[in-house]
Symmetry: C2
Subunit: 291 residues, 2 copies
């Protein structure tokens, strides 16, 4: 069993916000994650909802700025926010630029050294971390949801589309809908996947994955701000929604008037998202009469 | 009229979070403040609630981490968070230590050069800033409340006790109840007020001011965490409450089980505080049928 070290703990609403550190065999370095544990989970297991941060943000930003703990306590959901990349890997320039390296893993598995020695975030998020969480905390097996903001929204799409039975619920806030198309991600993809596009890259395109999705019926909640400066050239929402429509993925899409691409947008709608996941994740639970 | 420069604006819940910069004649330097404007204030004036940050925190921390905007929008209150000190004053060591200088003004008026050239935060908070806010935004004259966290709670006490008619409502979160007694403030007070205590310092002691308070009837809401590491040796809550009792100041005191001295505590109870102020500030308002 993975050895977890508690780095921080503080009561927050009706539960505890904690941060743990552990050695990851997948990313080959020390990793941190934040976990919010409603007091209820001392009595019985609860569903788990994962949040993936956007480019330049991490688990600390999420627990400090989103305000999601209140909804998690009210809705009886454990909330897990992984860090947004490996750190302290000694890869040259790991912390040199905003659009690759630390806080810019894009939640994919790198194939090119030196990045491939550590930047296996997709496997970390979808395999190693869920096992650590289920082994160490009072979780309801299988009752797992995932959400994300911006590039973290793309990470949530990848995680769910490539693992059709891993999550019961999926939502995103201002998602980048395709990192293969988004101009800011080109440099990172060249470093992580190779200098030239080839068809192997397609497994990291949410639009490509959505268009050939064949898993169980899927419904996605998406919120986006109308004043989001990336809306026109970086997010590819229309193309994504067309791909989903073709493969029968249902989307509940809300364009929120005047909101931007930042934590003021996230905090305004995170409660809706936590409640959305909770409704699905608690559907089969008889224990908790609230749902 | 003071020239305000908009530095930031973002929609947040049902209103806009903004940051302005302006030249302050009182602190003799450029100052910033954050203001949250519910959409309603485009139609009619609203009360204003001020928040003073604790040591080492500023207006940016408040608007990013407190989550207070939701309650302000729901309760129809404009929320103003001033910066916690002057900045860029060229005073040597202004940014050198955590317990004096930037983010550690203690909201008093310094008398000792070079600090006295800029560190006039008490006059800024209670005179210059309220005038700027009332001149530039749609505020209800006189409907003004103040709250604060930690040393900012002490600042809120000072502001209200020394100006009995300036605020209609007062509340604090984990307040330092006397900076003259608190060990961490000694060095700053020596720099700001002189190398030795003399009786002039007493005007900056909230316990002293509470004990001789003779203004209109006053009621204070105080929340504090039972796991606050400063509770025993730094906050002086018991002495403060005794002083208030003697002079007829009523206190609604809540000791919150397990909470610490941080933003996880603030975000857990800020909605209660905003609602508390709103009830008092809207009491005389007929316009808004909600109250």
């Amino acid at each position: 069993m993975t050895d977890l070290r508690l780095k921080f703990s503080s009561k927050c609403f009706n539960g505890f916000q904690k941060i743990y550190s552990h050695y990851s065999k997948v990313t080959n370095c020390e990793m941190q994650f934040a976990i919010y544990l409603p007091l209820e989970c001392e009595q019985y297991p609860l569903p788990v909802l994962y949040f993936l941060s956007g480019l330049g943000f991490d688990h600390i930003d999420f627990i400090e700025k989103s305000g999601a703990q209140k909804a998690a306590a009210q809705q009886s959901v454990i909330l897990v926010a992984p860090d947004s990349s490996p750190r302290n890997t000694n890869i040259p320039n790991e912390n040199g630029e905003w659009n690759f390296g630390i806080k810019a893993s894009y939640y994919i598995n790198a194939t090119q050294p030196p990045w491939s020695n550590h930047y296996k975030m997709f496997s970390y998020i979808t395999e190693e971390l869920p096992k650590i969480i289920d082994d160490n905390f009072s979780t309801l097996p299988g009752e797992r949801g995932i959400m994300g903001f911006s590039v973290g929204g793309h990470g949530a799409f990848l995680s769910a589309f490539k693992n059709p039975c891993l999550y019961r619920s999926l939502s995103t806030l201002a998602p980048v809908c395709d990192i293969l198309k988004a101009p800011h991600s080109a440099h990172a993809l060249e470093l992580y996947l190779g200098p030239q596009y080839d068809s192997n890259w397609d497994e990291w395109s949410a639009i490509n994955l959505a268009s050939c999705y064949e898993g169980p019926p899927l419904h996605i909640l998406i919120d986006q701000g109308s004043a989001d400066k990336y809306l026109k050239a970086h997010l590819f929402t229309k193309e994504f929604m067309e791909a989903c429509e073709k493969s029968g993925i249902e989307i509940d899409y809300n364009l929120r008037d005047g909101f931007g691409h930042n934590y003021y947008f996230i905090k305004s709608f995170i409660e809706d998202h936590v409640a959305y996941h909770a409704r699905i994740l608690h559907r089969f639970q008889m224990k908790n009469s609230k749902f």
